[in-house]
């Protein structure tokens, strides 16, 4: 065997080790699309909230039915944003995996999903409990903290950079606890701006070269 072959062997070993333990097809563009969904959602929520307070000011009294309706609409909006963000994320990741001829649904993606979903489900149940007990102001920080922890947990099985995004989300959620009632702004920054910045950075770091290599 020549030197070149030995070097090739070492490169192969490294590639197999990486590919078998980390899900490397996660696309930066999924971060960008999720961020855009979040910003659109935040803008809509803000419009609804402003309209609600205008109605309150106009009538002069607190309207329980109106508040219940607002709450329901905001929850529905949050779910819609989540579905759109996850859908976009899956699409861009699937596209990247297909381009690189890698499977989307394999051991590594299952590991990422499991490890992200466990803290996320706990956070979801926790937030539902808060809503049930009328601690609405705590929902936004809770979502950010649990989402951040979920990312930190999942980062072991995908791009290591996800860990930093998770840390930032967690810190933002805790900061939000000290500025209650500003939850919407923290959400917009955490789920919107951070995702977009992270997505662009990841795209720049990992995918730009792939594109050049494939000459697309």
């Amino acid at each position: 065997m020549t030197d070149q072959q030995h070097l090739q062997t070492l490169t192969d070993i490294k590639r197999i080790m990486e590919r078998s333990s980390r899900f490397i097809s996660l696309s930066g563009l999924s971060g960008v699309s999720a961020g855009i969904c979040a910003l659109v959602g935040a803008w809509l929520a803000r419009t609804w909230l402003t309209a609600y307070y205008d109605r309150w000011d106009a009538s002069g009294i607190y309207d329980m039915a109106d508040f219940a309706e607002l709450k329901l609409r905001l929850i529905a909006l949050a779910l819609a944003v989540m579905v759109a963000a996850v859908g976009g994320g899956i699409f861009f990741t699937w596209r990247r995996a297909r381009r690189n001829n890698l499977p989307v649904w394999d051991v590594t993606s299952r590991k990422v999903l499991m490890n992200v979903c466990i803290p996320l489900a706990a956070g979801g149940a926790f937030a539902a409990g808060l809503l049930y007990n009328h601690f609405e102001t705590l929902v936004a920080p809770t979502c950010l903290v649990f989402y951040g922890l979920a990312l930190i947990n999942g980062s072991k099985y995908t791009l290591p950079d996800v860990r930093y995004l998770g840390l930032l989300e967690t810190i933002l959620g805790i900061a939000n606890l000290f500025f209650l009632r500003k939850g919407l702004y923290f959400w917009a920054v955490g789920f919107g701006v951070l995702h977009i910045v992270y997505g662009i950075l990841m795209w720049w770091k990992y995918e730009r070269k792939e594109r050049e290599a494939f000459n697309i």
Binding site: L7, T9, L10, D12, I13, I16, S20, P103, V107
Partner: protein
């Protein structure tokens, strides 16, 4: 000293090398996942896994998920040592011939 003396003959096959690479970074991997990651056929993979097992480099656990067999593999301490030695020998060779 023979420069290739430390290279392990068992790891000359690319598939065996691949299996060891996967098992180095994963605690436990089942047959189908190995097959998918290494892009090989059942028979081919099975015979290479046998060789590795006979040499005590990997451990085999036969289990079931429902009625389907689920065989998982993990690396042994001997296997890990042998593989690391092989990698070191490869690196050593490349450095020396440069």
């Amino acid at each position: 000293m023979n420069p290739i003396g430390n290279l392990n003959k068992i790891f000359e096959s690319r598939i065996r090398l691949g299996v060891m690479s996967v098992l180095m970074v994963n605690d436990e991997v089942n047959f189908n996942d190995l097959k998918q990651m290494l892009e090989v056929t059942d028979g081919n993979l099975a015979s290479h896994l046998n060789t590795l097992e006979e040499n005590g480099y990997i451990k085999v656990y036969k289990g079931f998920i429902g009625r389907k067999t689920n065989t998982t593999y993990s690396i042994t301490a001997t296997g890990e040592k042998a593989f690391k030695g092989h990698l070191a020998a490869l690196e050593h060779m490349i450095k020396f011939t440069k």
